[in-house]
């Protein structure tokens, strides 16, 4: 009788899910680096629990002064809101008028290199700075009010349209351009019949999208004196009229939401 063969132990299987960073050392170096950075950053910014707890009663006081919202001076809200709307409409229109030539200039397939560089430089500057910064400069140059605000939004919108439309123009079908060129058409006619029909739906979509963004921005640049409902918001805040502030905020949220709904719906229909 032979003793029973002991069952061979199953080979041990270890399985690890795949990692985001495959190399073991790199992975832990990244994690350690991040932890060290976050520890440094939170001490550098002096974030601590005590300050947070200290702020709680003030938060409660603030909220109780905000609620209920006061629509007593609704005329100010209406006139501010309408001004924001006007600024957004005008600036989107002029932004398209300026943005289209910028886009043509910033398309590598249409423009000579010096026009290309110039247009790309304009786009970089107008897109890099937040609207509020541009607004500060325009307020200094053009005085307080809706005029400076409108110009701010024009500057931001033209760079936006220029960049995104240029991407589309660079992707057009060159065959149509060549066909128009073969008829002996000049530069302007090539643009009108060979290029623009191909990017028109995109341009309309961009214009509507930018109108939405401009309306959002127009409610905020009033903080630096560039007109719109933001001025009313900022002033009410400085006067500690928090219930009026809340009313203005609610109107801004409503405006932004309606603009987003309308803009999404319109763009969906065009495409």
């Amino acid at each position: 009788m032979t003793p029973p063969v002991p069952p061979t132990p199953a080979p041990e299987l270890t399985w690890e899910p795949p990692h985001l960073i495959p190399n073991f050392w790199w992975r832990w170096a990244t994690v350690l680096g991040l932890v060290a950075y976050l520890a440094y950053a939170s001490t550098a910014l002096d974030l601590n629990w005590a300050r947070f707890v200290h702020g709680l009663p003030r938060a409660w006081d603030f909220i109780s002064r905000m609620v209920p919202p006061s629509f007593e001076r609704w005329e100010l809200i209406v006139s501010g809101g309408l001004e924001s709307l006007r600024m957004a409409l005008i600036s989107s229109f002029i932004g398209v008028v300026i943005g289209v030539p910028v886009a043509v200039g910033a398309s590598r397939n249409l423009s000579p290199w010096y026009v290309y560089l110039l247009s790309r430089g304009y786009i970089a500057i107008s897109r890099t700075f937040p609207e509020v910064i541009i607004a500060i400069l325009f307020v200094k140059a053009f005085g307080f009010g809706a005029f400076a605000g409108t110009l701010t939004l024009v500057a931001a919108a033209s760079g936006f349209i220029g960049k995104l439309l240029a991407e589309d123009i660079e992707d057009i079908d060159p065959g149509q351009v060549e066909a128009i060129r073969a008829t002996g058409a000049g530069g302007m006619k090539v643009l009108l019949y060979g290029v623009f029909p191909q990017v028109l739906p995109r341009l309309v979509g961009l214009a509507i999208y930018r109108l939405d963004i401009n309306l959002r921005a127009s409610t905020i640049i009033g903080i630096v004196g560039a007109g719109g409902i933001g001025s009313a918001l900022f002033h009410s805040f400085k006067r500690y009229d928090y219930d009026f502030t809340l009313a203005i905020l609610l109107v801004i949220i409503a405006m932004v939401m309606v603009a987003e709904l309308v803009s999404t719906e319109l763009r969906r229909r065009i495409q």
Binding site: I90, F129, P130, G143, I253
Partner: protein
């Protein structure tokens, strides 16, 4: 050639032309209304070229000696953006789970999450900054919280969309082992949305670096504080230095973010 069969080619039918005309007319009318009622003080507008030239002359040459005083706020701006983004993710995670149709508990939680998403997204960080400066006092803490709160809606919305698109089979497999809700989330859902988390984090960090450079205008820390200071003293040649700093940090962050996102996706 017989009479009466002559056809004139028209690009649009009568109805189409009417529609086009009414759209064009409507747009023009709205624009005319907007321009006519816009409050423009013409003496200011006419004076503008002179004022702009004056501003340019005051800014050039920039006061480069001021650069050392910009570095510390610049670092603070970046720190506000990263910590704000991190805090935004911590706050946005539960809201994203509530805002995804397949993981939300019930209709009520879904709509609560939706309201939070819309409200936080629609209020600008400068307004959040104003509010948190009142609560926490001026400084970087108010800025960090303002950046975080403003980002909640954006992050939660995109993460919720990622959760809605996950493969249901993996969730069912883990559920079949008898795992509870949190384990299902950790093992079946989280790994699937990890790429989305990375992508959204890098993208939002880029946006937040731009925004945290101006949030100091309302006293919430970062470059905006020195910017306000320089402007209040009319030191426009210092303002120019700060603008260059903002430009550089935003361009750098955009470049890094684009490169990282290309690797992640």
């Amino acid at each position: 050639m017989s009479e009466g069969t002559e056809q004139v080619w028209r690009r649009h039918t009568r109805q189409e032309s009417l529609q086009r005309f009414s759209i064009q007319f409507g747009l023009t009318a709205i624009l005319v209304w907007a321009v006519a009622t816009l409050d423009i003080y013409w003496p200011f507008a006419l004076d503008a070229p002179r004022q702009a030239l004056d501003l340019a002359r005051r800014m050039v040459p920039p006061d480069w000696a001021f650069t050392p005083h910009v570095l510390q706020p610049l670092l603070e701006t970046i720190n506000i953006a990263t910590l704000g983004t991190l805090l935004a993710f911590v706050l946005a995670f539960p809201i994203a789970i509530m805002n995804a149709r397949n993981t939300s508990y019930n209709v009520l939680t879904f709509w609560v999450a939706r309201v939070i998403v819309v409200a936080t997204r629609s209020v600008n960080e400068l307004v959040w900054g104003l509010i948190f400066v009142v609560i926490f006092g001026p400084g970087a803490m108010a800025g960090t919280v303002a950046i975080a709160v403003r980002s909640i809606g954006f992050v939660a919305k995109l993460l919720a969309e990622a959760i809605e698109e996950i493969d249901r089979g993996q969730v069912e497999a883990i559920e079949a082992t008898g795992a509870n809700r949190s384990k299902v989330f950790l093992v079946a859902i989280l790994p699937q949305i990890m790429p989305a988390i990375m992508g959204v984090a890098v993208y939002r960090l880029d946006i937040n670096i731009r925004q945290s450079s101006v949030i100091g205008l309302v006293g919430a820390g970062g470059l905006g504080i020195v910017l306000t200071g320089a402007m209040n003293l009319f030191r426009w040649n210092r303002v120019a230095v700060i603008l260059v700093a903002i430009f550089l940090v935003v361009v750098a962050s955009e470049t890094i973010s684009a490169a990282l996102r290309k690797r992640v996706t």
